[in-house]
Each structure stands twice: as C-alpha cells, then as structure tokens.
C-alpha cells in the first residue's frame, strides 16, 4: 500500500534527536511490548499491514508503541480473542477463555521467533551481479518494496536465499516462497542531484519485485 509508513526519502520530520535513545519512555510502552510477544495472533506481516492501515493522522500522531497498541487491539478483535465491547467496559466481570493457556512467567523469557529462511529448492531468477529494475507496481495490499526504489535500476549484491513472500502472507494467502536479494542502488540513481556520487543504498527485495534490466 502506498501508505504513510513508506517514508524513505520524505522531508519535513526535522532533525534526529540522538539524545532520545531510551528503549521505553513510559510503563505503558513496556506493557504493550509484552502484550505483543505474549498474546500472539496472526503473523508479523499481518501485524505490519495492520499498522500501515491505521489512518495516516493516527499513524503520525502516535509513537511507535502507540501504533503497536492500536494495531494489536484490532487483531485481537478480528481473531475473536476479545471484543470491542469488552475494551469499552473493561471493568465488567469477564469469563476466562476456555481452553486457552496464557504464557507462563517461566516461558516468557524463552519466547522465540524463528528464522524465516526456507530450505526449499526454488530457482533464483537472478544471480549476484545481475542488473535489475524494480517493477513500477503499486499494490493495494502489504508490500516491502518502498516507493523510493520503484522503477529504479540496481544490481543484485547478495542472494539471501528463499523466504515466504510477505505480500501474500500478510493477507493469509499461500506463501509463494522465493529468493530475496540485497540489491545495490547508487544514491544518484535514487535521488538525482541530492545523492552523493560515492554513496550507495542497499535494500532487501524479493524476486517478484524485480525484472531484468539491460
């Protein structure tokens, strides 16, 4: 989706504040972080798409963990673990969910997310060194090729192997395993005269985002 989250190259956000370097500012942020890990619904791709689908004004006015909160609430409702009614009246006496075992304190520190790389024999469409162009596509759903590389020419730099395709996984479709590559772009290719001729930008891009370039 051509959403507000796709902000590479945008202006207007001011300077970086290196002093603002805490992991959490407030206790509620700690709780949101923990809820995300402990009450899992859907996958990370669907979670990202839910965040990207927040109204742009909300996206911009919330901070990182605020966006996580709103997106996770939506997913918990969608998957039927809670209802909007319960969120509005949290003081009501709510029955325990039958058959659900919450993550215990003993399990909490060992929750892991596994590598997504797949040991599948899927042929790569490109080899390291190949010249490629990022397709000029603007999907309505989730995608991981930012606007700032679409239509631009680069060179395959690393073949990372085979991964599930997030554009499909985020929407509950079969995962269409394919190669993902680090693709190298010159800064001037992407940014014209704003780019420094010495500088390079690398992005990890899936096979389906790319076409051969001469």
């Amino acid at each position: 989706m051509n959403g507000i989250h796709d902000m590479g190259g945008m202006g207007g956000f001011g300077k970086v504040d290196p002093q603002d370097d805490e992991g959490f500012h407030e206790d509620w942020e700690r709780q949101v972080r923990a809820i995300i890990s402990l009450v899992r619904v859907g996958g990370v791709d669907e979670f990202r798409f839910t965040i990207e689908s927040l109204p742009p004004v909300d996206y911009l006015s919330l901070d990182y963990f605020g966006r996580w909160l709103l997106a996770r609430e939506k997913m918990l409702v969608k998957y039927g673990l809670i209802t909007e009614e319960e969120l509005k009246n949290p003081e009501g006496r709510l029955a325990r969910t039958a058959g659900y075992q919450a993550v215990t304190p003993e399990q909490a520190g060992t929750r892991t997310s596994r590598s997504k790389r797949m040991q599948l024999d899927v042929p790569p469409r490109f080899q390291v060194g190949d010249r490629v162009r990022v397709k000029n596509e603007h999907p309505r759903g989730h995608t991981r090729h930012p606007r700032y590389v679409r239509g631009h020419r680069g060179q395959v730099h690393i073949d990372h192997g085979v991964f599930p395709f997030p554009d499909r996984v985020a929407h509950g479709l079969e995962d269409k395993p394919q190669h993902c590559y680090a693709v190298k772009f010159t800064a001037t290719e992407l940014w014209g005269s704003r780019g420094n001729a010495r500088d390079i930008v690398y992005l990890d891009l899936f096979d389906d985002y790319l076409e051969a370039a001469s």
């Binding site: 970086v16 002093q19 605020g66 215990t104 997310s113 790389r117 991981r144 192997g161 390079i200």
Partner: protein, 238 residues
C-alpha cells in the same frame, strides 16, 4: 526525554505557522522545516490499562509473565551481546571472514544461537577506511533485537527513518560523525527478514587488549553505524 516532549508540545502549539513560513520561502531552499512530530493522544495509557485488564480477566495474559519478559528485554539482552561478536571479529581474522560470509552461522561459535528471542537471519557489515555502513528500516523499524536489545527511540522516529536513505551524511553529522569526503556511505534499508549488524573499525590504541577489554569499548551506536569508535585513551591521559 521529558525535555523533548515539552518541546514537541510547544511546537504543536506555536510551530506550524512558523514552520510553514520558513520552509516555503522561494526556490533555493536548503533547509528542511523543523518538523512536526506526533504527541501521543492522552488516552493511550488508559487504553493500555483497559486492554491489560481484559486480557488478564480472560486468562489470556499472566501479569507476572509481563514483568519477566520486560526484565528480560531490559537486562538480559542488549548491546553487550553484539559487542561480543564485534570483539571476536577484531581478535580473530578467520572468524571475521566467516562472520561476513554467514553471520547467522558464525555467531553460533560464540554460543549466541539461542540468545535473544528473535532469530532472524543476520548479516554482518564491516566498516573500513573506504566505506562506512549505516542501518535503517524505512518501512517500520526492523532492528537486530537479539544482538542489540531494545531499539533506541531515535531509530524508530520519523526523522531517522525518512532521512538516512536520502541524506545519510547530514544525519550522521547530527550524531556528531563527520566522515571524510572520500569515504563511501553504504546505507542498508532492512526491508525484509534479514537483520544487519555493523562491525565498526577497531579503534587505535587497542593493540594488546584482551577480548574482554575490547567488548567494553563497543557501543550500540557503532553497531548501528551512526558512530565511529574513537582512539582509545587510557584513563588519566585523555
């Protein structure tokens, strides 16, 4: 951090007109406007309380598990883990070769395969006199949690996400890092399932140090690529 919040609120109260006026002067604009950041709606902390209450009553979350997990994030994982990888790469050139070739597999030599609760595939990037690497995630804020712990707020802020790819040298200067004009800047936008760790150059003045001593010198920011490690000065002689 409190200072920043106040400045954001002040800005929201008085800033937009000023910013608009300063930004769109005419052609020849060289400065970006100061930037409007979001201020979280005041209802958010209450909303989190409500969600926690619902999840707890329904038996979907154990509040003690929340405490355990947060303690884990705040004390068990952190840049001290990534620092072990960097120090080993400085000490052992053959390890560095294996690390640059396949970082996910090389870190198992340090017993790190089970550490951190994210086992995303890892790529190591070596800085040199010719090229400086810096990592960002423009689309969300992907970060090598397993090796560096919690991402700092600035890494997740819109300013860093939007600007590093288009003007990395200007952003690095805001971190106090001025690179020589002939050094290439390599920006890595982690848009997929790989996580990137920068291996900073070993600082001067560290010959003969032990691996444990070197670990102490490696900072989080140097492993994201927004800092170069200064030459080591023994205490008292700085």
């Amino acid at each position: 951090m409190e200072k920043k919040k106040i400045s954001r609120r002040n800005f929201l109260a008085t800033g937009p007109a000023v910013a608009a006026g300063s930004a769109i002067s005419s052609c020849g604009v060289t400065q970006e406007p100061e930037g409007v950041h979001g201020t979280p709606p005041s209802g958010i902390p209450l909303r989190v309380q409500s969600l926690m209450s619902v999840l707890t009553q329904k038996g979907l979350i154990d509040p003690e598990a929340v405490d355990t997990l947060i303690e884990y994030y705040e004390t068990k994982i952190g840049p001290h883990i990534g620092a072990r990888v960097v120090a080993r790469a400085w000490m052992d050139p053959s390890f560095k070769i294996r690390l640059l070739d396949d970082a996910s597999s090389a870190i198992t030599e340090l017993g790190l395969e089970g550490i951190g609760n994210s086992r995303a595939d890892l790529v190591a990037l070596a800085n040199s006199g010719q090229a400086h690497n810096v990592v960002v995630c423009t689309l969300c804020s992907c970060y090598p949690w397993a090796l560096l712990g919690l991402p700092p707020s600035w890494y997740k802020d819109f300013a860093y996400r939007s600007r590093v790819v288009i003007e990395p040298r200007a952003v690095l200067e805001e971190f106090g890092l001025e690179l020589e004009e002939d050094v290439e800047v390599h920006v890595w936008d982690s848009t997929a399932d790989l996580r990137y760790l920068v291996i900073p150059e070993r600082p001067e003045g560290t010959d003969g140090m032990t691996e444990e001593e070197l670990i102490e010198l490696v900072t989080r920011d140097s492993m994201v690529g927004v800092e170069k490690l200064n030459p080591f000065q023994p205490e008292g002689r700085a």
